[in-house]
């Protein structure tokens, strides 16, 4: 532990779904203003970890402290603490398809903060401009946007209420490399402008290197390595090494290979 003020502290977090023990004692500290990227393979528990922090899934055990207050056991109205403080960019955008783009961006302002629609619309158009989208985009429906534009709208929605904490769930998944880099740049730029604390989950190493102050690797429900992005190449951990270099051979055995081996 450092003497830095911790914005988010996760201690000994456990979560199971039936016999599937997804999180097996995750511990993470994220300092105020720090950008932490959690990497890990598909099914390693990254999304479950993020949903536990967001209060969308209740952990079985452990503590999640935001500014020192444990929110792991909170329900209903109390859970709004984390929602009020944070913004989230979902993997698929999760834009409300029954609303126009500007209404999506201004959603929290209109429905949670009860701001006048005119004021909220102006703020939404400003947020769209911050992510490089023209004001006319605001009047389109989300279905009329490309994948990259939907991510940008999702980012605009996440930052619209000037949150203290930002969460990014696979921010570059499904995008071409150039658009992925555009999104990464926007994330770095906006996070810096807001001074927000962020937790991102991804398996895109280019994205992780770009947006992280620190990278942590989740494997089989535990954090197995944590360090600076430039240290990941020489982590000394064979599992991290295999993941970073995307090798099929190594200590991390894919499920399909184990099943195949059993049959043999």
């Amino acid at each position: 532990m450092t003497s830095e003020k911790m914005k988010i502290s996760i201690r000994d977090l456990h979560k199971s779904f039936g016999s599937n023990h997804v999180l097996r004692g995750v511990g993470l500290d994220v300092a105020d203003g720090q950008s932490l990227v959690v990497i890990g393979g598909s099914g390693s528990g990254k999304s479950v970890l993020l949903k536990c922090v967001l209060g969308l899934i209740k952990p079985d055990n452990g503590a999640i402290e935001i500014d020192g207050a444990n929110i792991a056991r909170q329900t209903g109205g109390d859970r709004r603490l984390i929602a009020d403080l944070s913004g989230m960019l979902f993997q698929g955008g999760a834009l409300f398809d029954s609303l126009k783009v500007w209404e999506n961006v201004a959603f929290r302002l209109v429905y949670a903060e009860k701001k006048p629609r005119k004021l909220a619309r102006d703020k939404a158009i400003d947020c769209l401009a911050q992510v490089g989208l023209a004001p006319e985009v605001g009047d389109l429906s989300p279905a009329e946007l490309s994948g990259g534009m939907q991510k940008r709208v999702g980012l605009a929605r996440a930052i619209a209420a000037d949150p203290e904490i930002l969460f990014f769930d696979e921010p570059t998944t499904g995008l071409d490399p150039i658009m992925a880099d555009v999104i990464n740049n926007l994330i770095v730029d906006r996070v810096k402008a807001l001074g927000a604390t962020t937790i991102s989950i991804t398996h895109d190493m280019a994205s992780a290197r770009k947006i992280a102050d620190e990278i942590a690797m989740l494997y089989q429900g535990r954090i197995i390595w944590r360090g600076k992005p430039d240290a990941i190449e020489n982590s000394g951990n064979p599992m991290v090494d295999q993941f970073v270099h995307g090798r099929a051979e190594g200590p991390i055995q894919m499920q399909v290979r184990r099943e195949f081996a059993k049959k043999k």
Binding site: F90, F107, F167
Partner: protein, 256 residues
């Protein structure tokens, strides 16, 4: 032995599911007791469920009324001019109006609610609502439940009028009844309790239909297949709950 175990398991599963639905209904039905109230979502739901269901409910009622008039005429042995409007009026107002309107709304709106909310669930839009500090029960569920519970009695009132008018058209123009006599016999025989019992039923039906649509949508899982399955189950559950509760309420209301 296996049959006994399977029956026991089925009973436990059914009881658990009914418990979950009751819990969901209580949470959804009471979500608006404390603000915030999302009036825009409510008016939108009221327009889609109430106003937009008028044509289908009206068409069902007019053809049912017309067919019923022919059946009653065919089956009557004497004094048909008096009996036809009376039997038709009571049948439409107490039974057919509420049940047929409810089944039409169940088919039209319960499926739409399950599909819409189910799609929002599998595309993480419901999670997004929570992260934007908006309670999905207040924004999505409560407006739909309240709008359907209010809209269905109003639709049934319209269905009653149109159904009786359908019978009137057949009686007067096809069977040669005296129009004034038809109306007099109808109005003299029907009492306020007939109409009230139909409207009480409609209120309960509206609540049940919306709860089924919202519940199966909200709990759907697993992409397009899950949403399709939720939609199917919602319509069946809504229709069965309408028919079962109709019997229960009729057995209670016939003594009024």
């Amino acid at each position: 032995m296996n049959v006994v175990a399977a029956t026991g398991r089925l009973t436990l599963d059914a009881t658990r599911e009914i418990g979950r639905i009751a819990n969901f209904a209580a949470r959804g039905g009471t979500a608006w007791f404390v603000g915030p109230f999302y009036w825009r979502a409510f008016w939108d739901a009221l327009a889609r469920i109430g106003y937009a269901s008028l044509p289908v409910v009206g068409l069902t009622a007019i053809f049912t009324g017309a067919a019923l008039a022919l059946n009653i005429y065919e089956g009557s042995l004497f004094n048909v001019e008096a009996f036809l409007p009376q039997i038709l009026g009571v049948s439409i107002v107490r039974e057919l109006g509420p049940v047929l309107a409810a089944l039409m709304v169940a088919g039209r709106c319960s499926s739409a609610m399950a599909a819409e909310i189910g799609t929002m669930r599998v595309t993480e839009q419901i999670d997004a609502l929570s992260t934007l500090s908006v309670d999905p029960f207040k924004y999505l569920i409560a407006p739909r439940i309240i709008a359907t519970t209010i809209a269905l009695p109003l639709l049934v009132l319209v269905a009653d009028l149109i159904g009786v008018y359908g019978g009137y058209l057949v009686a007067v123009y096809a069977l040669g009844f005296e129009p004034t006599l038809y109306v007099t016999n109808l109005v003299d025989f029907l009492n306020s309790e007939d109409v009230t019992s139909g409207l009480i039923k409609a209120t309960v039906f509206g609540f049940l239909i919306s709860v089924m649509g919202c519940y199966y949508g909200y709990t759907s899982r697993g992409g397009a297949g899950g949403v399709g399955s939720a939609t199917r189950t919602a319509v069946v559950a809504a229709a069965v709950s309408v028919l079962a509760s109709n019997y229960l309420m009729t057995s209670l209301l016939v003594d009024i």
